[in-house]
Structures are given as C-alpha cells and as structure tokens.
Subunit: 411 residues, 2 copies
C-alpha cells in the first residue's frame, strides 16, 4: 500500500467504487410536506384524486354548449339566454340547457350540460338576459378537463426523486400533506493529524486549525446528507482504528481527511483496509488536486479518504461525494448538475493523462461569461473562497488555451 | 388600473422595481459559523491572524538552507548534517545552522534558519547522521510562507457574500467560530381566491387546494428568505386590505397570489396600490406565462403580485424573486446563476415581442444535453414537476428551431 499501485482516472475510480456498493433499500420516514423541500421520495406518490376535480374555465366568459355557437360571427351572432352567474368555489346549482349561457370566471366550475367557454371579449350584451356570441367555440375550448393535470391513481412522483418547489406545490394541491422520504444518510467525518486543533483553540506554532471537518460537513449538508463530526484523531494507528471503526458503525458512510505526509496517508489506508471487505479499492487517482484519494467499501459502506490539504479535500469531495450520496439516497431521477459555459481568459497548462480541476472566477461580460483561472495551492483554502467554480481539464488535453469555450461547475 | 397600461419587458419591469427600492442596511445577527451555510455576511470579515501562522513544508523531505544546496547534483551531492526530525504540531526546538538539515513532513514547521525544503526523493542517506542532497533548491522552495493564504487583517470575505462550503472551512481555519450574518428577509405570502381551500381540507366541487402558498414558500426558502404564510383570503376588498396590510407591516416584502379572473386581478392591484407610495409600478409584463404580474413598492417594501395559476406564479417568481431577495439581503457578490446549454429537440413557436418561458426536460445524450419542451398550461402544476428547467425564448424571436443551442435555467 505504500505506493500508488494504479492510477485510475476519476471516472474509472468512481465506477469501481459505486459498483462495489450493495443495492440500497433506503430507510424512509414520514414527514410533513412542509418540511420536505430537498428531501427524496421513499416511495412512489400516486394521486388520490384527479386534478382538477371538475371541469374548470381557463378564461373569464360564458359557459355554453359548443354546438349552440357553431357558425357564430360578428355579422350573425348566436343569441343565448343568460341563466346565471357561477360563483367561485361552488358547484353551479343548475344544468345548462340548449340555447343557454352562464357567466363564468377563470377557475370557475362548468355547469352540467356546458362543454365550452366563450371568452368575454367574443361576446356582447345588448338585451338584459341575453348574450350575443360573435365567434364559435369547439367542444372543450377554454376548459380544463377533469384530470387534465393528473388522473386519479397516476404516479405523480416516482420513488427516488428530490423535491423542489414545484413538487411541494403539486403535493399540497393533491392534499398530500405528509409523505415518506428517505432518511438523510449519516456521513461520519473524521479528521486526523497531530498538528490539527479545533477552531476554537488558540494556535501554537506548528499547529493549524481544522478546516476540513467543517467544509466537508457543509458540502454533505448541501448534498442532502447528515454530517456527523468525530473531531480530530492523532496520527496513531490505535486511535485512528478506534475512531474510524466507531464512525463506520454509526453512519451510512464516512469521510476521512488525513494528514498529507506519505506516512499518514499509508497509515490511513492501512487502517481503512482493516475495516471490512472488500476494503480499499482505489488508492491514488489520476487527478490534480487529489492524487492520494482513497476509495473503499467496508461491510457495504463507502469510505472516502481525502488528503488533509483543504483545497484538495474539498475539490475531490465535490467530485466523489454527490454520486455516492445519490446512491445512498436511492435517487432514481438524477437531474443534470448545473454547469456554465464560459470563455477562458488565460492559457492553463496541464499534464497530459491527468485530469485537472482549476478554480476559476466567473465574470459577466458583453461577450458572455468569462472564466479567469485562479492561482492556487492545494493547501490555500482561500483560493477556493475567491473562486466561483471549478474548471475541468480533461486527461487527454495538455492544457487549455486562452479563448477556449469551457464548462465550469459552480462551487 | 383595469387595463394593462403598459407592457414592459421583464428586464425593464425588474429595473423599474429595483430602482424604486430604498438602499437597504440589512439587519445583522450573530450566529455560529457552523450554522452559517447559505447565509450572507453582514460585515466584512478580516483575518485575526495570518494563515499559515508559520512557514510550513508542502512536501516530505529535509528542511535546509537553500544556499547549502547550490550546485548539488547526482554526481556531486551536497552533504548536510542531519540534526533532527521535526514533529508535527510543534515548533522545532533548534535553529538550523549552515551545513545542517532536519527531517520534516508535509505540513511541518520549518525551524529558524531554514528557508527551503528538499524533497525526500531528491536525497539519499548513506551515512547515519548525514544526508546527500542530489538537486539544489531555491529560497522558499516547497515552503508555504507565513500569510501566503491570508495576511493578518486581510479582508477575507467582504460584506454581502453568501457562504458556501469553502467559506465555512476558511472561517474555521482562522478560528472565526461566530460571525454576523444578515437576518433572513421575511417574506409574507398571501393567497386569495374564494375557490381556494387549505390542502388538508377535503375538496368540494368548485374548490381547489392552495398550491401557490407552498410552492412559493419553498422557493423563498431556496433563495434565502424566511417565508411567512398568511393563509387564504376571500376575494373581498376589506379582507384583502386587512391581510395585505398586516403582512406588509410584519415582513420585509410580500407576495400576493391572487385569482386569475380580471376582476380579482384588478381588485388585488387596487388594494396593493393603497398600501403606500409609490404603489403599483408595473401591472402587466410582456411575458408568457405571467402577463398579469404586478410589481409594487409600498413604504419602501417590495410587493410581487402573481397570477393564481400555479405554473405562472412559480415561473414568474423564479424570475423576479431572486433579484429582489438579493437586494434585501444586501448581496454584493452576485455569482452567476447556474444555466445549462442544451440542444432543443423540437420547434417551439413564440410570439415576437413577448418573452416566453417554456418548461423543458433535459436528457443526457452522446451528443450532449438535449432540451425537450414540455407542453404546459399555466394552471397545470405537474407540467413543472415533469420539467428540469425553463427555457427562455427572447422577445425578438418568433420561436426557436429544433436543433438550436439554448440556455436552460434549472428549476
């Protein structure tokens, strides 16, 4: 384990990791739809009733029998008897007979017998109790049919869908005020390093504060997991083994951010490898930053081992955490992730065969979005603070030229 | 007010609205950095100390005086006396003298006197207590300087910046465990309509459940506001006036989603216009869906009046809510919003002069992302549930052709 045995591409490494994970049957919990934004459905949701429940007018006008308006025109209007006005929120108390019309508002319920609505602006009134229809309407015109949005028993949201504002509204519209969502996967976060101290302590020379536990917790939150921090573990095999073992027991996956020296990396890989089968699957990825990344599966649970360098840790987590959390969440509808097209402002060199991620600042310009690469070192966290997103340089490129059209993932 | 006096473009309408808003001095509150993800800084944040606090090695190797390695090569190594090993997390207890070297690990603190680090792989050991350096290093090589990430008193995060995972990590790294963020703007949400009932009630013919209060609340949450729902108000002037007045009093802005008939729209506009100066600024926008949108400012607070149609309400809110919330939050760093490039799969007609938003499904394909337009009516909320994003057809286009490269905003 002291050498990087193979250097896989990030895509191959990810595939090997996900393939080693068991199929999940995510555990569900019932919550109020009011609290469900961002959560993932644990079971398919079916419509308990059609929507709309009754034929509704989509305009202000007159409910009519379409046949009564055939051939109507400005010069030869159809004359209909006005039999009433349909109040909002109530079923009309009458049936529309041939030759009759009833005033109706947008969203109002069509009376029995009516099959279309004539828009107000296509009618005129000259005599009380009578309207003149100046244009014909077809059957169903200006009417929402019963079940036109959803039919009763339709699967309106499958299992494994992350809920956005439209879903929250749609569920409430169907009277579904509670639902079963997938429990947030618990993600244990372990930081190690004899030089690392908690943020609230004063620094002594030689010490640095823990950054990774917090930036990674925040990312876990953004991606729909529940971060559980296990503090800072000294770089001793027994201490690491105890904490990693406990964190693995208590969570659905763990992230270990270890020191950056070769010794601590090897120690971390060795301890992770003892945690269960199949153990460490990938140690070393052809990516910059993040070469020493460890991907493991132990007793069915994924483990992500990251460098202690904060930029490297966060960039690699941005690449590997979302797909594994989607797996743990049982996400079936994987919507495309947001990425922006921008025009590179500088040449960016890169080593062929290696995939590079470069922090960029995005600048709106008259010619479109510009991506300005940010000089960074993998231990300077504020180089990411200055960035809007990450630019990916594919492995087959030896860099990108100024002016190139590039894709940027937002941080 | 009974007619759309002017039909502005969405851009002009937005500009007119924002220009009528007073400059904000957003109220701040102190919170724990642990809770600050997604919040906006209320004041600039300065580094209380440099980061790193001491010169750190970026590799495993030997701390040296660079001058001692000048001219070193495989055939003519520089011989240095090994004086010790630098433990992680501690200040070295010695000063490095000329001709000396000390073993150091990645992240370790350079001893006084050392000004560079030679990588382990560029050295060899043949005699105990002595190392051979095979390549020269320059001053500062493989060393992070004090303050290389941030200098003491640097403004590391300006006021008005939304905090992401890198900022959370960076703040903790500086020992900043509390900070002042902008209080979440309170957004009052009023739904009106005699036909609208709360979701938990059984539907009677003619009634529909409230969708907009919930889809809009969810959007407010996503955008960093605090939604406050005021329930459903009957379409009566006195009732509307009372609830809108109270909501405006108790919030930083309000959204009113009113019925869709001409009568209720006019009623809403009239009541909003009474709430304070300058009143209704825009009533009717050249956009589909969402033509009857109302933009108002009353007593310094923005009011967004939306159609009762749930698709129309949510699409228009997606356009107008984010910029006004950014204003209320005092956001100074407006990062570009995520938008995806995709290839349209069908012709989409549109009326010239009007800006159209069309829900689309995004499909990953070998040729890149495809955008498939979804047939919708502005009252069918599940047409948005089926969509990944919105496609904008500019006002000067009479539609877009199949195969066109388009921009899609994620829902």
């Amino acid at each position: 384990m002291s050498e990087f045995l193979t250097l896989l591409s990030p895509q191959e490494a990810l595939k090997r990791w996900l393939n080693a994970l068991p199929e999940v049957e995510p555990e569900g919990e019932e919550i109020s739809t009011l609290e469900a934004l961002g959560r993932v459905t644990a079971e398919p949701i079916r419509a308990p009733e059609p929507m709309p429940l009754f034929p509704r007018s989509t305009v202000d006008g007159y409910a009519v029998r379409a046949a009564d308006t055939f051939g109507a025109s400005d010069s030869l209007p159809a004359y209909l008897t006005l039999v009433g006005e349909i109040g909002m929120g109530r079923a009309p108390e009458f049936t529309l007979q041939p030759g009759q019309a009833a005033l109706i508002y947008t969203g109002g319920m069509l009376p029995e017998g009516a099959d279309a609505v004539v828009m107000l602006e296509h009618t005129q009134t000259t005599m009380p109790g009578e309207i003149e229809v100046l244009r014909p309407v077809g059957v169903g015109e200006n009417v929402l049919k019963v079940g036109e949005d959803v039919q009763i028993e339709d699967e309106v949201i499958p299992a494994g869908v992350r809920l956005r504002p439209p879903e929250i509204g749609g569920l409430m519209g169907l009277g579904i005020t509670k639902l079963r969502v997938v429990k947030k996967p618990r993600v244990g976060i372990v930081s190690s390093g004899d030089e690392v101290i908690p943020p609230e302590q004063p620094l002594r020379p030689g010490q640095v504060r823990d950054i990774n536990s917090y930036s990674l917790s925040a990312l876990v939150e953004v991606e729909g997991g529940l971060p559980q921090r296990y503090g800072i573990v000294p770089d001793r095999e027994d201490a690491l083994r105890e904490v990693i073992g406990r964190a693995l027991e208590e969570n659905d996956m763990i992230i270990v951010s270890a020191g950056s020296s070769i010794g601590t990396r090897d120690l971390t890989a060795r301890v992770i490898n003892e945690m269960g089968l199949p153990g460490v699957l990938v140690h070393g990825i052809n990516i910059r930053p993040g070469k020493p990344t460890i991907l493991a599966v132990c007793n069915g649970k994924p483990i992500l081992g990251l460098s202690g360098n904060p930029v490297s840790a966060l960039v690699v987590a941005q690449i590997f955490l979302p797909p594994v959390l989607e797996h743990l969440l049982g996400l079936t509808l994987k919507r495309p992730r947001a990425r922006l097209q921008a025009c590179l402002t500088l040449n960016v060199p890169s080593q062929a065969g290696r995939e590079d991620y470069v922090p960029v600042r995005l600048i709106e310009s008259a010619k479109g979005l510009l991506a300005e690469p940010i000089f960074y070192k993998s231990n300077l966290i504020f180089s990411l603070v200055r960035a809007d997103g990450l630019l990916r340089i594919p492995a087959d490129a030896t860099g990108l030229a100024s002016g190139a059209e590039v894709e940027v993932w937002l941080l």
